[in-house]
Symmetry: C2
Subunit: 210 residues, 2 copies
């Protein structure tokens, strides 16, 4: 039995080269290029990273999914087949790379929530990883997509850290209004589809790095 | 049938948490801590990265092995099992991360060859990846271990690029003497076992980055 991800994408989609065309209902606001409809945030970012790489602007990749391999077959005259393996929890974020001498490290998350971004999108060791990267002067953020609003933000990790560290006593999600105020809205373009490095530029300027 | 890697380590070793103790013949020179005997270069680097992370010196991880998943089972009440998957060729290097604001990117390779380091240790897209990272002001290098000599070097990527780009007309390996002259020898220590960031420091100084 194949289960789907919460965003409605099939589990197998992320492993296949050809994205399945998977049209949803039309978004209600205008700031959208319709060719992007139905593409997952991950696919949009992967395409943008490909564009950034090909145009010599940045080298940023999604890391492979960590897997614990238990059993492998080596048939004669054909490729090795993994016959038993398990998903491991990632100890880092999904994306990293280099941009104009800066180390870039981020997660990409979609939410169907309109009013806030739930902290349950993260694991403790991902936050630890991002804090360690920030200490080494890496540029850390989350690309947050509010699916219903069709809005995508580059959210600085400091906002995430503040809410994460206070979740025992406080709320378990980051209010949409705060993200809107303190993050960088990314509008779709033709190339790259998701020009998120524009948000990263502003982030770097704000942190006051060279 | 389980095949071994060329360095003699079992294929399954890299997926198991407990490194198998696997003593080889004693090394012939003195600059070795005997507790390291039989550990693969990858294990030595992973341990060093763990130390660097825990002491707040750097955040550097080995990337998971890229895999193409074809079939997954979801048994009730237990974890998803990958029943069919294949190894994909990596399009980047094995290790990357951040160190004092620098993006770090490298491969780790062992050779039993005494007099040279064969270029067959690399694929074309790995070289392309490293060149793209250097263009973005990333710090790229190879950790080369001459197993028989028990010598480990941080080799700047420029040496690799020069030989790689000339291999059609020239030789297919990098002479040991040149690596010895133009790279940074790393001696084993207690903690971290392989203090390769000492070589990276010299590399950064030479490139004249801040």
């Amino acid at each position: 039995m194949i289960k789907n991800y919460p965003n409605g994408n099939s589990f197998r989609d992320q492993f296949t080269a050809q994205p399945k065309s998977n049209f949803r209902t039309a978004p209600t606001n205008g700031n959208v290029i319709y060719g992007n409809r139905g593409m997952s945030l991950e696919q949009e970012i992967n395409l943008s990273n490909k564009y950034y790489l090909e145009t010599g602007q940045a080298v940023i990749h999604k890391k492979p999914i960590p897997i614990q391999i238990v059993n492998v077959n080596y048939p004669k005259r054909s490729a090795a087949v993994i016959k038993e393996a398990y998903f491991k929890q990632a100890s880092t974020t999904d994306y990293n790379g280099v941009y104009h001498g800066h180390y870039i490290d981020f997660e990409a998350k979609e939410t169907r929530n309109r009013s806030s971004f739930p902290l349950s999108n993260f694991h403790d060791h991902q936050i630890k990883h991002m804090k360690a990267c920030v200490q080494q002067q890496g540029i850390c953020f989350t690309i947050v997509k509010f699916v219903v609003r069709q809005e995508i933000y580059v959210m600085p990790s400091q906002i995430l850290f503040a809410y994460w560290d206070n979740q025992e006593s406080g709320r378990k999600s980051i209010p949409y209004e705060q993200i809107k105020r303190e993050s960088y809205l990314i509008n779709y373009q033709i190339s790259p589809r998701l020009p998120y490095l524009q948000g990263v530029d502003q982030l770097i300027k704000k942190i006051n790095l060279p």
